[in-house]
């Protein structure tokens, strides 16, 4: 194997990256266009006025507020449950271990629409009214695996002798968790939480089933996607959403830098 990639490989891989990023650049550009009725390219002129108009919209603020609430609550549940599974799974060999793995990845391996309608049938049967609570229940379900993936990788790198040493030195279970385990997994847990927040903040397919009349930011966006009413405002919200999901990813990446890779592949 040569030290330098062949021209063909460099072209093919760079072209792939351009393909991945060009549409994001287009989103960025359109937030500034002066054209408000069509998607005319190139934009006839550039302006900043849509940012002010979008910021004055109450419906967007309330949708944003709901999305943040949901993402925080779902992430909190996922952090707790994800750490518990990771702690159980990283070393132990037990009957049914594969089944547990399967149940963990099923919410992301099955299409969102299946998860969505399955939860909807349960909500209907349980006689629950779709609300903030039902959205959170749905989101937490598929956020668990994100936290789990990040934390379990860190657990595997932690040596068991640390726990034994802690016990030998007289620490009880809580002290060992607080002063040995937690510092070890903290950054991985936080990285998992960031990803989980981004995942929940952006989720739309399951949410359309569990939200009822509630409107999260992605649901607001979806209605604009199907029936465009406020094109320039949609463009501005688009950039904003990208920023809100990008920042946690960059932070998560920093948190895990120098050690294991960020486990964000299985969104």
């Amino acid at each position: 194997m040569t030290a330098r990639a062949s021209l063909g490989l460099r072209l093919a891989s760079s072209a792939g990256l351009v393909f991945l990023h060009f549409p994001l650049f287009i989103i960025f550009l359109y937030a500034f266009t002066t054209e408000d009725r069509t998607y005319q390219f190139p934009p006839p002129g550039l302006t900043l006025k849509w940012f002010g108009i979008a910021a004055a919209r109450a419906d967007i603020w309330s949708a944003l507020f709901l999305s943040v609430q949901v993402a925080l609550a779902a992430t909190a549940i996922a952090m707790l449950l994800g750490v518990l599974v990771a702690a159980a799974m990283y070393r132990a060999k037990f009957w049914g271990r594969d089944a547990v793995t399967l149940v963990l990845i099923l919410p992301i391996a099955l299409p969102g629409i299946v998860t969505g309608i399955a939860l909807l049938t349960t909500i209907k049967r349980a006689g629950l009214e779709p609300s903030l609570l039902t959205i959170v229940l749905g989101h937490a379900t598929f956020c668990i695996v994100t936290v789990y993936n990040n934390v379990v990788a860190r657990f595997r790198r932690m040596s068991a002798s640390q726990l034994e040493a802690s016990a030998d030195l007289g620490a009880d279970g809580w002290q060992t968790f607080r002063f040995v385990v937690l510092p070890n997994i903290a950054t991985a847990l936080l990285a998992g939480a960031m990803l989980s927040f981004a995942l929940s903040f952006d989720e739309v397919i399951v949410t359309t089933f569990t939200a009822g009349k509630e409107q999260t930011l992605p649901i607001w966006f979806l209605s604009e996607l199907f029936r465009p009413r406020d094109r320039p405002i949609t463009n501005v919200v688009a950039i904003f959403v990208i920023a809100v999901t990008t920042i946690p990813i960059l932070l998560a990446q920093r948190l895990t830098a120098g050690g294991d890779d960020l486990h964000g592949g299985g969104k």
């Binding site: 891989s13 287009i26 599974v85 149940v103 391996a109 309608i117 016990a167 990208i242 964000g264």
Partner: protein, 316 residues
Amino acid sequence: MNQSTSQPNLPRPNFWRRASSLLYEKPWLGLVLLLAPPLLWLGVFYLGSLLNLLFYSFYSIDDFSGQIKYDLGFSTLAQLFTSSSNVDIVTRTLSMSIAVTIACAVIAFPIGYFMAFYAKGRTKAIWYLLVLLPLWSSYLVRVYAWRLILAREGVASWFFDTLGLRPVLDGILSLPVIGGPSLSSSYLGMFLVFTYVWLPYMILPIQAALERVPKNLIQASSDLGARPAQTFWRIILPLAVPGVAAGSIFTFSLTLGDYIIPGVVGAPGFFIGQVVYTQQGAVGNLPLAAAFSVVPIVIITGYLMFVKRLGAFNAL
């Protein structure tokens, strides 16, 4: 002082200490305690919901009142096979999922290959981020971007006009099946958007699988006289199969269940996800929606078994 006689010099063990001794002696107990809350959540709430969904697919709708009849039967599931339009929907969705998966693998492979073998240090970190960011930036926004690109007055149109390639575009669009009146209302356009949106899911597992190929294996192959092409086809590619299989779980399953992209771009024909969505919402036929959502469950379960044999689960 009221000390116990058996431990004259030790303080009485507190709750946490007794708990940790107990857990040390009985490791299974710790396991049960750790797994109980998450498994209750996933097992009861999630698997229970899936089971419930399965039950709904055996219910049917009363033709006169439009109410759900809670009697188990096969009449709703049978509609999937007896109505030719329903069969068409399943075939259409399946073909699109396969095409998108293949396209993603082809585009992703060189990127993963470059990242695994040639990008070092800082370059590698940057490439990793450049793949991760589109993956995690909003799905809806990325679909929306393609509405801007594919619109009649949008970027793609401008690009073809400026380069004088309009006849080429018209030629492609006049092809049967993949063509249509415009890019944004053809299967070709839908295929582009699907491929774009799921591509990062394919790159990361391929890169991870290639990363694990032992470098000395490649060295050995060339020492034994293999040409680079031989090393690629006989050593590297077989070892990359688990990565491709792992990535294909996502590209395949996500395409199979999506209802938003076929609604925003593409030809009028329905996809499974759209049927599920409209049947439960506008039409109010929850049993038929449930029956349709059983299709992806069955296909994906079969698919998971198939890719498990290719080693996909170890590459996830």
